[in-house]
């Protein structure tokens, strides 16, 4: 895996562009070509998404904090809070196994950012919600079942 190198390179180039942005020399534009594997967002099974983000062999970890409701009454907006206590975590990914497109969200964290976030997700139906934390070349995972009473992907 060269994920970390890609990550550092993408931050390096983003930093250079960010500097230009600050000087007003460059409108926000191609700088936003963030280096995620978009194919992973378009795939329809969690197994494929995990493979495409390089996390197929992720080991279960107790050091990832995940707060989600056990029962989500509104699948259109399920609050999720994630924090990784694994040293050197540079990426957090969220997958909803039974969504039409399981990979929901990925964040990269550069030095100065804490590997934690809150977000709201759509869930089509009751499903396993899975977090993958990436630290160096390793992937760690934690998952939780979330019951959804009214689905939020709108078939």
């Amino acid at each position: 895996m060269n994920g970390r190198r890609n990550f550092l390179q993408s931050f390096g180039s983003a930093m250079a562009l960010g500097g230009l942005l600050g000087l007003g020399l460059l409108k926000p534009g191609p700088a936003l070509a963030v280096d995620f594997n978009r194919a992973a967002f378009d795939t329809k099974t969690a197994a494929d998404a995990l493979r495409l983000i390089g996390a197929a062999g992720a080991e279960t970890s107790r050091d990832i904090f995940l707060k989600v409701p056990e029962i989500a009454e509104n699948g259109a907006s399920v609050p999720v809070e994630v924090a990784s206590n694994i040293p050197g975590t540079t990426r957090l990914s969220v997958l909803v196994d039974k969504n039409p497109f399981p990979l929901a969200l990925q964040f990269n964290f550069a030095p100065g950012a804490v590997a934690r976030f809150q977000a709201r997700l759509k869930m089509a139906e009751t499903s396993r919600l899975r977090i993958v934390a990436t630290a160096g070349d390793k992937h760690y995972t934690v998952f939780r079942e979330v019951k959804v009473t009214v689905g939020g992907c709108g078939e």
Partner: protein
Amino acid sequence: MPDPIKIRATVKGSDGEVRVLLPHPMESGLRHDASGHAMPAHYITSVILSLNGRPVIEGGLGTAVSANPLFAFQLTGVKAGDKLAVAWLDNKGQRGSAESTFTAA
């Protein structure tokens, strides 16, 4: 013109807490309108948060992020007056950006 991005950036000690609201339909492409026509996908694909011009968090989003995405993050080594910028790009090539200043909590 969509609603403006909302940013709340506060500092406690040297920890910065950031909340951003990005007004956006986040249309999944799976829904149909009242007359049964498929509504095309229209969603934010990437987000960058920068602290004083340096990118600190970058996000890749799929269609499963709720409409009008609301995110909270934590930064370290932040002081009042530091600048926080947010920029997004969606699958139609539309963009949005905003900047705010950290204030003491």
